[in-house]
């Protein structure tokens, strides 16, 4: 039973354009969401997060949108750069977790073409 799903295994975008990565979840008890970026042979690096009390959070070129009614979140990267090419994981934390347990999606591989 996969509670966090990233249905697109891969995405290819031209440099300078917008990248939109999507994530769906099934558990309404999730109340904190994060995006991580992973380069080959490295561990995931935290990118941006959003609490369920918000519907948008922005940090430079990265914006995360949360639609609680649809149980959907998305990561927008504008403008996309070749260095953004990596695997992106969304993750969710249930309200009941007092130790920050995260449930991860399978990841989406983003390729930004020069």
């Amino acid at each position: 039973d996969q509670q966090v799903k990233q249905n697109s295994p891969s995405l290819s975008v031209q440099e300078g354009r917008i990248s939109i990565l999507n994530c769906d979840y099934t558990n309404s008890m999730f109340d904190y969401f994060l995006w991580y970026k992973k380069y080959p042979a490295e561990g995931p690096t935290f990118l941006i997060s959003i609490s369920s009390i918000k519907d948008k959070n922005e940090d430079g070129r990265f914006t995360v949108f949360l639609n609680k009614s649809a149980k959907h979140l998305s990561l927008h990267i504008v403008p996309s750069q070749p260095g953004d090419s990596a695997v992106y994981f969304c993750a969710a934390s249930p309200h009941s977790s007092n130790t920050g347990k995260l449930i991860f999606g399978q990841g989406t591989t983003l390729q930004v073409k020069p």
Partner: protein, 113 residues
């Protein structure tokens, strides 16, 4: 720089031969996690420590054990590795209670021959 360190980065072991992976952190975080990630899959939480309190996930096989001798170090012991245990093992830390950002080490890739 404060960080999460994993050693070794690559580990080769034989079928059934016990192996230990290590993780250390300079962040002074209360919580340490171990994840298993197989190719093209989501990282899967095996267990975590909140200070000295050990929390095992319900579906983590008994073959996997962990030790946390102090705040800085945490070990993952695989007692009898099988071919299906070949994976990337990720260590992460977080400050503590409530929704938290987790900070990951670079991972150890385990190969079982």
């Amino acid at each position: 720089d404060a960080m999460v360190i994993q050693n070794p980065r690559y580990q080769v072991t034989q079928f059934g031969k016990p192996v230990t992976l290590s993780c250390s952190q300079t962040l002074n975080h209360n919580v340490m996690y171990w994840y298993q990630q197989k190719s093209s899959q989501a990282p899967k939480l095996l267990f975590h420590y909140y200070d000295k309190d050990f929390n095992n996930e319900a579906d983590t096989p008994d073959n996997f054990q962990s030790r946390r001798p102090n705040t800085s170090f945490c070990f993952l012991d695989i007692r009898s590795p099988g071919l299906g245990d070949a994976a990337m093992y990720l260590c992460a830390t977080s400050r503590g209670q409530g929704p938290q950002t987790q900070y990951f080490g670079p991972g150890t890739r385990l190969l079982v021959l």
